[in-house]
């Protein structure tokens, strides 16, 4: 339906991700709180996702492990704060490879008349944490960066 927009501003320890989905708000919300649905979409196709816990309620905990084709595992866990609703799902997020570096993640679901805009804001403890998170959690798939560079330069020219 629409493209995923990621905003990471300099000097601000946040990342904002927005994406529109061609589905009603309740359904998009459910796909975020029911573990058997989450398991079907979270992460790229070449990572296997195993959800240990996904207790979407106030004080509930969650944990999942991503495994890549080489057998490397990446564990993540956190806690839900407040009962999740389409107004907000609030949860902490911690990469087990960097314990103590915790992000606070808030997802909101905006009804756009049949379609839904999902906005996720991740607030990190520092800009360094944010940058390290982005770099470390997503180690695989550093594909053709020259192509990306060309795209960026094209963008620079048109802006």
């Amino acid at each position: 339906m629409s493209k995923t927009h990621i905003t990471a501003e300099p000097g601000i320890p946040q990342i904002t991700i927005t994406r529109g989905f061609n589905a009603p708000r309740d359904l998009v919300f459910r796909a975020h709180i029911e573990p058997e649905l989450v398991a079907q979409w979270l992460g790229p196709r070449d990572l296997t996702l195993a959800i240990d816990r996904w207790e979407a309620r106030d004080g509930g905990t969650w944990r999942y492990v991503h495994t890549d084709v080489h057998g490397n595992t990446y564990g993540f866990h956190g806690v839900f704060h407040g009962n999740p609703s389409p107004q907000a799902i609030v949860q902490t997020f911690e990469f087990e490879g960097a314990p103590g570096h915790v992000a606070l993640q808030t997802a909101t679901f905006d009804d756009r008349g049949g379609s839904t805009l999902v906005r996720t804001v991740s607030a990190f403890q520092s800009v360094e944490d944010r940058d390290a998170m982005v770099a470390s959690g997503m180690e695989r798939g550093a594909r053709d960066s020259d192509e990306r560079l060309a795209e960026l330069l094209a963008k620079l020219q048109s802006s």
């Binding site: 339906m1 649905l37 990306r148 330069l153």
Partner: protein, 127 residues
């Protein structure tokens, strides 16, 4: 690339004049006067922007005869785009999969539960 360096690069890219300077430098080296020409800002202002770009490692300065030339250094841009590309790819792919799932769930709702695969039918039963 350290977080600080990344912040410097992002900070340098945040200004439209600095982006225009980088764009001009993709065509080749240029003097401050050449870089200032398209803008209604002074050469000292352009020099200031060049300093920011230089600190971020995006521009280097060389001297040819009496002219001081600025040159694009693409390395940091490559690091930034690689950094972002990984994250972007993770979420692009997740969201494409979510799109597919939502389409399947909606089709399932029209047909009634039990006709989709087990996990999806279970989702419908919760309603």
């Amino acid at each position: 690339m350290t977080g600080d360096r990344l912040s410097l690069v992002f900070g340098a890219l945040a200004d439209p004049i600095r982006r225009a300077i980088l764009t001009r430098l993709t065509e080749g080296e240029a003097t401050v006067a050449e870089l200032a020409a398209p803008f209604s800002v002074s050469q000292p202002a352009i020099s200031k922007h060049l300093k920011v770009l230089e600190n971020a490692g995006l521009v280097s300065r060389t001297r040819r005869a009496t002219a001081r030339l600025s040159r694009l250094e693409a390395g940091p841009l490559r690091e930034v785009t690689t950094w972002l590309a990984r994250y972007q790819q993770f979420w692009d792919e997740s969201h494409e999969r979510l799109d597919d799932l939502l389409t399947a769930l909606q089709a399932g709702q029209e047909e009634g539960p039990g006709q989709q695969q087990a996990a999806i039918a279970k989702g419908n039963d919760d309603e």
